[in-house]
Symmetry: C2
Subunit: 569 residues, 2 copies
Amino acid sequence: MKLSQLPKFTLKENPREATTASHRLLLRAGMIRQIGSGIFAYLPVFYRTVRKIENIVRNEMDKAGACELKLPILQPKELWEESGRWTRYTEIDGIMYHMVGRRENELCLAPTAEEMVVDVTRHAVNSYKDLPVNFYQIAEKFRDEIRPRFGLMRGSEFTMKDGYSFDVDEAKMSETYEKMRVAYNEIFKKCGLRFKMVQADSGAIGGSGSAEFMVLANEGEDTILSCDTCDYAANVEKATTLNDTPKSEEKIKKMKVLDTPNVGTMDELEKLTGKPKNQGMKTVLYMVDSRPVAVFIRGDLDINETKFANLFGGNEFIRPMTDKEVRDLTGAEPGSIGPHELNEKIRVYFDKSTQNLVNFLVGANETGKHKDNVNWERDIALPDEFHDLRLVRQGDRCPYCQGKLEESHGIEVGHIFKLGTKYSEAMKCVYKDEKGVEKPCQMGCYGIGITRLAQASVEQNHDEKGIVWPEEIAPFRVHLVALKNEDASVREFADKLYADLEKMGIDTLYDDTAHMAGEKFADADLIGCPIRLTVSPRNLAEHKIEWKMRTEAEAQLLDHETVLARLGA
Amino acid sequence: MKLSQLPKFTLKENPREATTASHRLLLRAGMIRQIGSGIFAYLPVFYRTVRKIENIVRNEMDKAGACELKLPILQPKELWEESGRWTRYTEIDGIMYHMVGRRENELCLAPTAEEMVVDVTRHAVNSYKDLPVNFYQIAEKFRDEIRPRFGLMRGSEFTMKDGYSFDVDEAKMSETYEKMRVAYNEIFKKCGLRFKMVQADSGAIGGSGSAEFMVLANEGEDTILSCDTCDYAANVEKATTLNDTPKSEEKIKKMKVLDTPNVGTMDELEKLTGKPKNQGMKTVLYMVDSRPVAVFIRGDLDINETKFANLFGGNEFIRPMTDKEVRDLTGAEPGSIGPHELNEKIRVYFDKSTQNLVNFLVGANETGKHKDNVNWERDIALPDEFHDLRLVRQGDRCPYCQGKLEESHGIEVGHIFKLGTKYSEAMKCVYKDEKGVEKPCQMGCYGIGITRLAQASVEQNHDEKGIVWPEEIAPFRVHLVALKNEDASVREFADKLYADLEKMGIDTLYDDTAHMAGEKFADADLIGCPIRLTVSPRNLAEHKIEWKMRTEAEAQLLDHETVLARLGA
């Protein structure tokens, strides 16, 4: 492509609205243009990267035995009522764009396509002989986000690869899931990105297992915990650790009440009483819909709210209790609540970290008082179950090998799920087995955020001058700059070089504009193609072309043949 | 692709809802599945054809110097208010899907993208040096049709290539338009289709010139008139002809009133009076919004309502007058209305065919009466202008060379427009010329209905057994059938042949299912790939493969090498 074919899309100034490096760079480098809240045009140079990613995804999906189709963006309400998701998505979450057509028909814009693909499949699948099937599409998706932000990261409209598999049973479904896992690894490798597969929370979509693929980036929204010894890695939402509260041989002591005036935090309590935080319990109070709930965890730890929410069905509205609600229910201020003699209307959950505590310190349910030497069974009944509700942190121990967990950050670009029969049961996507018995298909689903991946790549790969695209998904491999191309010999030489590169199938962005040298080089760095070639009167006098890698500081002067040979290699 | 990867999408019976051959075949051959009114899923085999067409379009657009980008489907109301099209499209025509987002933001779904591309361009173009630019995208479009029908022909959601060019002046815009015309010819040629470029009506989109590309098909919705001698061809909506009313030397006669009781049509009038229809005037009465209008044309001809509507601004609601309105305004029944002494409240338009008439017969504006020997000037004032309002028909004369016009039918698959400055003026898409004077960009716009083209190809190319894809856009070049593949030698041979074909880059649909021979052959004919290869125990015994072209009745037995050589050639 010649830059003269485009108006000047690059910007001199950093756009004010951008909050992350990648958002800023995509705008400045003329890759995208914002049209509305969360709505972006993909400009020509960027769209080449999008299509390169799409083709990598397509090739790996095809190789893994999935079949590409295209499902409609407009989806009739009726399908979403069958799955039971219409009200949740349009009213409760409000995440789904929806409207009424001229024939009073209600429609939504695909936020995802489980309903649609189940509809296509259930009409064609009859027997176990028809299975497995594995469909995917690359298509626009829509979400009416409360706060669209970070450019393409959380937009109203974005490009996604979504795939759905149908198998006869869980074992077969797991085989398909495993194939997809391998294919996903291959895709992110082929995109030239540093990434990590992590155990993930399945969230509202349900299902028995899921993994996320994270592009690693310092400013990434997601926190990952990875073992420094074994392969374990998990999203912080899902991460677990060893229960590191030692069993104590300490003798059970007599319970006593302590005066703890104005104590609001565990740190203050430790300071006042001299008893280490990890020998007490922290109390956190929530309203789950209209039910009061208390959660107890060892005093030095924090609650993982995703794990807590997963204790319930996923349709609840969960929020922290207000101070007034705490006072009304317990008769005490929030800092003084504990499990002993707590109002029985409050449902209680205990984290595993509390199980081995002996002679522990807890709130007394009386303002400015705590109780010390509280003990299981003597003072508080053992719960039926201790839950894993702990927010795992850097330095915690790996649940598999006791290695040390390290924290890093990433951007979720892929997610694979074992979905089970949630949709196939609700929507009667069934097959007859060898004995003629009707059974629901076992589903898996598999997503990749294509445009999100493109931006994540920029978040991972940039410097102060601009984007540094991995060669595999760079919009062009070569950025050819003709300096002073009012000089006919420069123009002719550069035109010829461009034609040669095109003929060799090397995709090239040719800066044949009349801009000044400084501007051309700044744009080349901003746009970030891997190889910059410069033709100038001075180089030409020496029969040389300047070769510079975007990742290197130094340029080299090479002759024409060497340049072509290097590119051809 | 292996057919065993898919459930059985082909249907045994003709689907009832299909009204055209192509719609019926796309459904039966498992190419598409209807999800809702005008909403279709593109199933895996068909989607390959869609993508092949997209790639042909993309290559030719790139070659012609256009740059691909992707504009959002969600479009903010504000942009459509700038162009003045929001109310027309959402309320008057009601053709545009629209909705309110969670932040009370109003959005529509792209029915087209002039506003969007103008917004992208106006922010980047400053000077004449930035022009020309020529953008295109391949993307979903949405229209809330009153009556979605004919499958993909008139759907609620469809894939379209839409392109938009920006030039400094009309001459440059015409050059770009001409490049696009040439590229469009190349595209339809490369798709392997019989097509015709015709002069077209510009319709509501406005502009100074436009051409349509028609895929020829007997059942096509559009009527084309083409000259049997020169290159002239036009959509019937736009077609013109020679004014074939001869100038008469006849002496002007005295006007007389005739009794014409119960005469309603020109034929009845000719029969009663003996005066040929082409020596009289036919009157047609309309309401244009609330204004009464009469149109006069030679008695043997008909009005072209598109041409008539184009006399007005394009925002009017036009309908035939009711009999009651005719009586109230003229005092006479509809069959007896004429231009002489007509109520002056009625605005009149005369077709060119009436200009040379002498001593003509017209309605008398009195029930059951006509006037003969009416003449221009003596009886009726000459209008300022005679308009071309004539519906051209088979056998009429070519306006350029007097050749004979022949009628054929087609399906519009492409449309190119000289758009002018309608959008660039309304939305201030301007540039500074050499002297620093601000001017609006001259726009062109260029569309191809990708999914419509795919169906049009089926309408043009099918037989009683199924689809007959042109090789260029066939989902697969080869349909490989393994008969009795429970036989290990058949299965192994066919698997190997499939692997060889894939390795040679020959796209192959491999029927490796356990279906019966008859079913497999019927499906191959229905799906319609150009070459069918059959591996069977009998052929294998003779070391042969059966080779059959979809377009030919006879099959041939060829050895393995010959098959590969033919395909490789």
